[in-house]
């Protein structure tokens, strides 16, 4: 099984720690994982802003980088959802379709493909889980509070395998943090207010760390935490699963 590691552009540039943890975690499970060096971005920032028609270059580049792999794994629900739903290539439709079927968000790859049953990790902290919407409502990596359906959570099932972790309860378990891609600047007032409210829920329940499958939501909440001078930190789920 050959796995291509897709590291979203902003994770590559600003959060290499999350990417390194993802790589090391996959290596720990004996996965043959490679990072194609010419990758850039999934194209979502343009597409969600209404410029999907400008993403041809990104799509072609993505296919070029990842066509050869059996699986593509990324530490992001949002970028994976974008590729899964929107990648297309008029010149090579089959390759595009194949990509959309073999791309996985990290925690789903761990629970559904590798079928991870135990982890050798320790994280002795109070942790709040942020349900990133695109992973949750888009990729269905956990149940959703709106639906009348059985409860489950792939990220939480993995976190529960971590020693000494204390997962806190939230008042609103799956409210959006307000990042929303370019929404975070085009609708600055609402985006910031949503972020403040989400952070407040975690803080009120004693979170030392806020974790999740998407660094973008965490980056947004980190910006608010830092501005408030809070000691609470954000951490990508891969870094907890790879800790200790």
């Amino acid at each position: 099984m050959k796995v291509g590691l897709f590291i979203p552009c902003y994770v590559d540039q600003f959060y290499p720690g999350a990417a390194i943890a993802t790589l090391q975690l996959l290596e720990k499970f004996g996965v043959d994982v490679t990072y194609p060096p010419k990758q850039t971005c999934c194209g979502q920032p343009m597409a969600n802003s209404g410029f999907e028609h400008l993403t041809t270059g990104c799509n072609e580049l993505f296919i070029e980088n990842f066509a050869e792999f059996d699986y593509i794994v990324a530490p992001s629900g949002s970028c994976v959802l974008h590729i899964r739903d929107h990648i297309h290539d008029d010149k090579n439709p089959k390759a595009a379709e194949s990509i959309s079927h073999k791309i996985y968000e990290l925690t789903t790859f761990l629970t559904d493909v590798l079928k991870v049953q135990s982890l050798n990790a320790r994280f002795p902290h109070k942790v709040g889980i942020h349900q990133s919407c695109h992973g949750q409502r888009g990729l269905h990596i956990s149940s959703m509070s709106e639906l009348v359906a059985p409860e489950f959570s792939k990220p939480a099932s993995l976190l529960n395998m971590v020693n000494d972790i204390d997962i806190i309860h939230l008042s609103r378990e799956d409210e959006c943090c307000g990042f929303g891609g370019t929404f975070c600047v085009t609708e600055e007032a609402i985006s910031a207010k949503m972020g403040k409210d989400r952070v407040a829920d975690h803080l009120a329940h004693g979170a030392e760390y806020i974790t999740g499958v998407d660094m973008s939501c965490l980056m947004h909440m980190e910006g608010i935490l830092k501005r408030q001078g809070s000691k609470t930190k954000v951490i990508h789920i891969a870094e907890i699963l790879n800790a200790g």
């Binding site: 790589l23 597409a47 802003s49 209404g50 410029f51 028609h53 409502r137 709106e146 959006c176 307000g178």
Partner: protein, 457 residues
């Protein structure tokens, strides 16, 4: 309807100047969302019910022409006069003409979002006809000179103290009263006089049954019934998408409607209107106003399934924190944002962008409209049709070039991290919208790509 040149982001920013009010608005609507959750979870077959409703509406939309004709025929046979209005203007003219024919210049009206969409109150006022809205929430915003901010809870943005002040100024109550019971009783006495004296009543329509020609109006206050039963002429305005095929399908929709809207099992009054009382008139106006255009848009046609429950507004984290008026459209929130651009792409080009695409709206929708996917699709249509600001276009083009080229991307990444590290003042200022309420990430020494080159290859 509100006329404004400000877009959603600007209006939302204004609403957010008073953070305490935003918190109160958010919590009030979240409370209703939670009531909806409890009501839905009490129905084990809830998801099957949503699917059934969605499929019934699919059938309606695919056979709308036939159902409309079937409905018209049955309604006429019941003694109802049926009118067809192609747009808002024609609808308003028909109402005006009907009132003129019976020589009436004062009308009582129960809740009808369609008449908000058509601007009926303003139109009639301009022609010397007084309209009094009889839904309590609508009456309050009418007295305040504002449009409703929510389709089910029109004055949800007003605190009880503010309502006390509106009543003090308009209905003669003492100043400083905010007791809900007292204020409701005041409204009751005020509206009682209206019901008893108005000879014309207009109601909306929640469901129209093609099989029987009857229509159903749902209210919690009984105000539609009070108005219609005491008037000589009852006019019912309905969008052409309000049809359901048969009476038996009502059970599906009535179970979903109020559970989704407020968490109640059913509306207090679900009144069936079929034929006029002897000596009185009953009219139905079937209004298109852009609906057949929307029906022709493949990606957006199922927005016409909407039964106007407002659940998408109550759950929307943006709506809860921006207030209904920030959508500057008769129908606010997520559903309004996919309906409004169909009416006027230029005026409502901002609305599909007033969302994080979190998807909660689609999950609560009782008829399973893929609202957040339609928001995404509207963005593509609006940009392609030229409704994107020029600056945004240039920025996106630059981003596209950078992200389509690994070389440019690596250079830009390095430059960005360098700026953050050595010249943070270039981005840490109020010209950068991110920085107003958030700090920027601390730039790492190297990117993952650079680390990988050193450590793995």
């Amino acid at each position: 309807m509100e006329h404004t040149t400000k877009d959603h982001a600007e209006l939302a920013q204004e609403f957010n100047r008073d953070e305490e009010r935003v918190n109160w608005h958010d919590e009030t609507l979240w409370f209703i969302r939670e009531k909806r959750d409890k009501a839905a979870h009490n129905i084990p077959e809830w998801e099957a019910l949503r699917e059934t409703a969605s499929q019934i509406k699919n059938n309606v939309l695919s056979n709308l022409d036939n159902y409309l004709q079937q409905f018209e025929k049955a309604a006429i046979a019941n003694g109802v006069t049926v009118h067809w209005a192609a747009d808002a203007t024609e609808h308003n003219q028909i109402v005006h003409k009907l009132l003129n024919e019976v020589g009436v210049n004062r009308m009582v009206k129960s809740k009808s979002m369609l008449t908000e969409e058509c601007g009926l109150n303003e139109y009639l006022a301009h022609h010397g006809i007084e309209v009094i809205d009889s839904d309590l929430g609508e009456r309050i915003v009418q007295l305040a000179g504002e449009p409703p901010s929510h389709i089910v809870l029109p004055c949800i943005h007003k605190k009880k103290e503010e309502i006390g002040e509106i009543f003090h100024q308009n209905l003669g109550t003492a100043a400083g009263i905010s007791d809900p019971q007292f204020l409701t009783e005041t409204a009751r006495q005020h509206l009682r006089e209206v019901f008893l004296t108005r000879r014309a009543a207009l109601t909306g329509v929640n469901f129209a049954v093609a099989e029987t020609g009857e229509f159903v109006v749902c209210t919690n206050e009984g105000n539609a019934d009070m108005g219609a039963h005491l008037a000589d002429i009852h006019i019912a305005s309905m969008g052409i998408e309000k049809l359901i095929p048969e009476r038996k399908h009502l059970g599906v929709f009535l179970r979903l409607l109020t559970r989704s809207a407020t968490g109640q099992p059913i509306t207090t009054y679900s009144s069936h209107f079929k034929k006029p009382r002897p000596g009185s008139q009953m009219h139905i106006i079937l209004v298109d106003n852009g609906r057949s255009v929307q029906l022709g848009r493949e990606d957006f046609r199922n927005s016409l399934k909407c039964i106007r429950c407002g659940a998408c507004m109550n759950t929307c984290p943006v709506y809860r924190r921006s207030g209904g008026h920030s959508y500057h459209s008769a129908i606010a929130g997520p559903i309004g944002s996919i309906l409004a651009p169909n009416l006027d792409m230029k005026q409502y080009a901002d609305l599909p962008f007033a969302s994080t695409l979190c998807g909660s709206c689609s999950n609560v929708c009782p008829v399973k409209i893929n609202i957040h996917e339609q928001l995404y699709k509207w963005r593509q249509v609006l940009v392609k049709d030229g409704y994107a600001p020029t600056g945004k276009k240039a920025g996106m083009q630059l981003m596209t070039w950078t992200l389509s080229s690994p070389g440019l991307y690596h250079m830009a990444g390095k430059a960005g991290r360098w700026v953050l590290k050595y010249a943070p003042f270039a981005v840490n200022n109020k010209l950068n919208p991110w920085y107003i309420h958030r700090d920027l990430p601390t730039p790492p020494a190297q990117s993952f790509g650079e680390w990988y080159k050193q450590n793995r290859k």
